[in-house]
């Protein structure tokens, strides 16, 4: 049994902003059913001010995936796109009063969904986005080097197990673990100058 915070359970039991948004002009869809979680984030953005007026979600996944998506909608409503994009997975974890480490990937999914929704609003197609997202490292869970670099940098990760907890990368067949370690080494070398 996971030791979920009261806040996670509250957002799971009483999800805020749940459902589709018919007038959304930015929709982010991330994850896959085969991998166990999928998040759809719907944004209604004012084209003049770029302020997010409405945000809703739908999630296939566990309690922490549902809670992460739900609290994310509350965190971005009223923000401009630029402000919203500054919300990191760490902010989502904090807002939820913490997550078990093995569930951090749910919060990462939240920030990915947000980026995807903004890309959709800006008219960046998923194919172009894939180029932006970089090279596929983990084939089992479709995780790219760009995402791994991002979570390592933002969360100061140092081990492959941590990266797995944040992104699922390396969590199935494990054949990409060496590559993940190389990315960790590269990022940490860069930031610490060691």
């Amino acid at each position: 049994m996971w030791d979920y915070s009261d806040k996670v359970m509250d957002y799971f039991r009483n999800p805020r902003n749940m459902g589709e948004l018919p007038d959304a002009n930015g929709v982010g869809k991330v994850g896959s059913m085969a991998c166990g979680d999928v998040m759809y984030l719907y944004l209604k953005i004012d084209p003049k001010t770029e302020v997010i007026e409405k945000a809703t979600f739908k999630t296939f996944g566990c309690a922490s995936a549902i809670a992460s998506a739900s609290i994310l909608t509350e965190m971005v409503i009223g923000k401009t796109i630029e402000e919203a994009l500054k919300v990191t997975n760490k902010d989502i974890v904090e807002a939820l009063g913490g997550l078990p480490q093995a569930k951090f990937h749910c919060s990462v999914m939240g920030s990915e969904a947000l980026e995807a929704a903004v890309n959709d609003y800006r008219g960046i197609k998923p194919e172009e986005k894939e180029e932006l997202e970089g090279k596929l490292v983990c084939r089992c869970f479709a995780v790219t080097d760009k995402l791994i670099e991002k979570v390592v940098r933002e969360n100061h990760l140092t081990t492959v197990d941590e990266v797995t907890a944040y992104t699922k990368a390396g969590g199935a067949c494990g054949s990409c673990k060496n590559e993940i370690q190389e990315i960790i080494d590269r990022v940490n070398k860069g930031c610490c100058g060691a």
Partner: protein, 386 residues
Amino acid sequence: MFVYLDNNATTKVADEVLEEMLPYLKEEYGNASSMYEFARKPIKALERARAKVAGFLGAAYEDEVIFTSCGSESDSTAILGFLGALREKRDEVVISDVEHPAVFNLRKPLEKLGFKVRVLPVNKNGLVEIGALREVISEKTALVSVMYANNETGNLMPIAEITSLAHEFGAHVHTDAVQAAGKIKLDVTRIPVDMLSISGHKLHAPKGVGALYLRRGTPFVSFLAGGHQERGRRAGTENIASIAGFGKACELADKFLPYENSEIKRLRDKLEKALLEIPYSYLNSDPDSRTPNTTNVSFEFIEGEAILLSMSDKGICASTGSACSSESLEPSHVLLAQGLDRKLAHSAVRFSLSRYTTEKEIDYVIGEMPGIIARIRSMSPFWHEN
């Protein structure tokens, strides 16, 4: 209402079992290896329990029963103890694709020891077919270890056929019967397996006690260094209280077998029928060859952990095949082995009853489940009501 439908995970200790245990936790604390009068009662309790377990399994000799600490220990003891003592030139071990981790995760250690491990596939209902064994068995096969009943689906494997085919080729047979004990009749005389594992806490004894049936004459070496307990086959001071309770639990289980196969089966079937009436729900267990207390159902478009937590909010306990409920990121290897789509494996829920399950409880669960499934589905991007 509180409804415990996770009896394949663990069970409530029966009152009669606790009664049997208490003297050895209180005044009769003597070590069964000691020489004084004070050790007599623990020694007697140990041998009484051994006789009960032997009777429960249909063993010809009481000394064919070795007490261990759990089902996993029994599995490792059997497989490693047998292969460690084997003097024949046989270097292959056959297991199935749906074994409990206690057996499944021995693949690597066995390969390191120089054995080739052959894994039998299962059919789409999750059953091992005898034809699959026929394809791989040979004079090189040292051991065939296939579980009696699967923990996730309750599926009963064709152990009688497996045993006779393996014996034809001179191979030995072990079976993990942890999920079968107390649910169907086990009889090592009628189905002459060489080794069989059972666990106390799955049949209303406490956690921390198990047993291995080891047929006389089976090659065996203890892999635990230590004292002479259990005739040198399992070192360590005997857990007398739990063993006494285990013996009592086996005696009770025998008595309840007819009830298990009539009343519990009826309640399980009633529950299963109602669950399958929920739209887009699918049975993952074999409809026929199955323990009477278990059903495993997938509810499409949603994920198991979310279902379990919502059930828990209603006081209902069950299990899931989803990855999200465990440290693992992969869904149940059992359900994947039978070819179930990954998304359906993530949405699988196992319900397992016991003799303490009442009709009132089943009716309550039947009443609550459609609402629980509908609520989680309302949050799923893949669910469209029409």
